[in-house]
Amino acid sequence: MATQVSLYLAGDRFLYRLNPVTKLVVVGCVIMLTFLAPGSWTPWLMFTLLGLLALSNNLARPFFRSLWRIIAPLALFLFVIHGLFSPDGQTILLTVGPLALKQEGLAFAWLMTGRILSVTGVSLLLVFTTPPAALMLALAQHGVPTALTYIMGTTLQIIPQMRARAAAIIAAQQARGLETTGSLPQRVRALRPLITPLVLSSLVDVEERAIALEARAFRANRPKTSLTDLPDPPGERLLRWLGFGLTLLIIGAGWQL
């Protein structure tokens, strides 16, 4: 049976109590600092702070475990490729046969790994501490069109449904003798009889879903209310603007120095 895609982990610490929009602003600020502030240590500093934040919110284990799984293979790839084959590489640190490990390539891989860790880390903290429905509601409350937040929320839940349907179609076509394994050309040939029913049935679903939404007054021309109370105190709103201003200030000052 299809289940929802959500990385939310229940909790009640500091990050959980923030309005989702505040957390989105934090994500934006971290991304800006990671990419725009000078220094190859900046992304690693951001990542350290994020690690501490995860620790203080009881999320250290899932935080570091997820990052290890996502980033480790990528980081290894970055260090090997850039360390050995970077065109900017001048300073040779080590030579093994025809291969030479260069300092400039490693420095670039270091910077990129720090950036990826920082951006992925802050995004993980957002999704770990924010129920998707709360995020959609917060966006809608801040002027994002309801239709857009609906599409964002639905996408999360439709992916597993589509996956389950695709599996059913594959099984049905295999039962009719379609070969879905084997060489690449064979697999490519098998795609059409799999994709066509998937797309057509999804189109039929769209009409039924539209009817279901209409039957629930989704397009009612009156102000919507919300079951969930999502506090957004003035202090937090001020903090968002201050955080954004501080980020710009740090980036500007960094480049001045």
């Binding site: 609906y150 039924e208 209409e214 629930r216």
Partner: protein, 288 residues
């Protein structure tokens, strides 16, 4: 409660009308079942009673449909949902997709209607209780079985307090257990006085619980009356609807001279049992 006056409707680009000069009235609290072969116009009638025809499907409509005093052609769909609720076949496609728990899913319609937050918990709890979903309130709608999802669709419509409930083959995609649970909820709602119009193929269930049966064929009303009259008609066989199994059994017995020609054919198990018992008792008395 419902007034359909000379309704004809054609879908866009269709050459033949899906409904042709249909007229009917439904009283408050009545439970009306609509039967007919595939393509007979059952779904279109359901859509017409809920305003989706013509608001959603467009096409050409003549005649008039009025539900609880609201003309469905004039009243916007978003307003009609508080008067007439629609539940259709595919349970999974009736889940909004925007909510992550059963409880929030039921609240979705109330949020769209702008119902004050303080009013919501009571209405949601009542809808969940009516559909037997109270214990599943914290589950994801996508983790429910088909029958549970269909009851969720019912709860999501009921929470908006419609005066008429229109159901388009609500159990056609469910297993027997899921169908039984959904039918139990519908029967309960009908007993509570809500007006129900239900397109359905399961004739035994209709025979047991509907007040009235309407049979459609090629977009027209062919039969309209109590279950005992409509479900025993031979027209059901000629229009590929079939008759309830108890009726077929008694009809076969009648052709063999085992069921008296003057005795009405049964539509329910209880009627069939009573009929055969009375015949057997009569024979025993005759033999004595």
């Amino acid at each position: 409660m419902i007034l359909v006056d000379n309704l004809s409707y054609s879908y866009p680009l269709a050459k033949t009308p899906a409904l042709h000069e249909v007229s009917l009235t439904v009283s408050p609290g009545e439970f009306v079942a609509v039967i007919g072969a595939n393509g007979s116009g059952k779904s279109t009638l359901c859509y017409a009673l809920t305003g989706f025809v013509p608001h959603f499907f467009h096409g050409k409509l003549t005649g008039r449909v009025s539900v609880a005093g609201q003309d469905t052609q004039i009243t916007p769909l978003a307003e009609l949902v508080t008067v007439t609720g629609l539940v259709f076949q595919n349970p999974a496609n009736q889940i909004s997709g925007a909510k992550f728990t059963v409880y929030d899913e039921v609240a979705f319609g109330l949020e769209n209607l702008g119902v004050p937050r303080a009013e919501m918990p009571g209405r949601i709890a009542a809808a969940l209780s009516l559909t037997g979903l109270t214990d599943l309130a914290d589950r994801s709608p996508y983790e429910l079985s088909g029958g549970q999802q269909q009851r969720l669709a019912l709860a999501s419509v009921l929470v908006m307090a419609p005066r008429v409930l229109v159901l388009d083959e609500p159990t056609s995609q469910l297993d027997p257990l899921g169908s039984r649970d959904v039918f139990a909820v519908i029967r309960n709602l009908s007993r509570r006085g809500i007006t129900v119009v239900m397109a359905e193929h399961k004739l035994e269930w209709i025979a047991a619980f509907a007040d009235r049966v309407i049979m459609l064929a090629e977009g027209q009303i062919l039969l309209d009356g109590p279950p005992a009259a409509v479900l025993t008609s031979s027209l059901l066989e000629t229009h590929h609807v079939g008759r309830p199994r108890f009726t077929r059994l008694a009809a076969q017995a009648q052709s063999l001279g085992l069921w008296p020609a003057n005795r009405p054919l049964p539509v329910t198990l209880a009627e069939a049992v009573a009929g055969f018992q009375s015949i057997l008792t009569g024979r025993e008395n005759h033999a004595d």
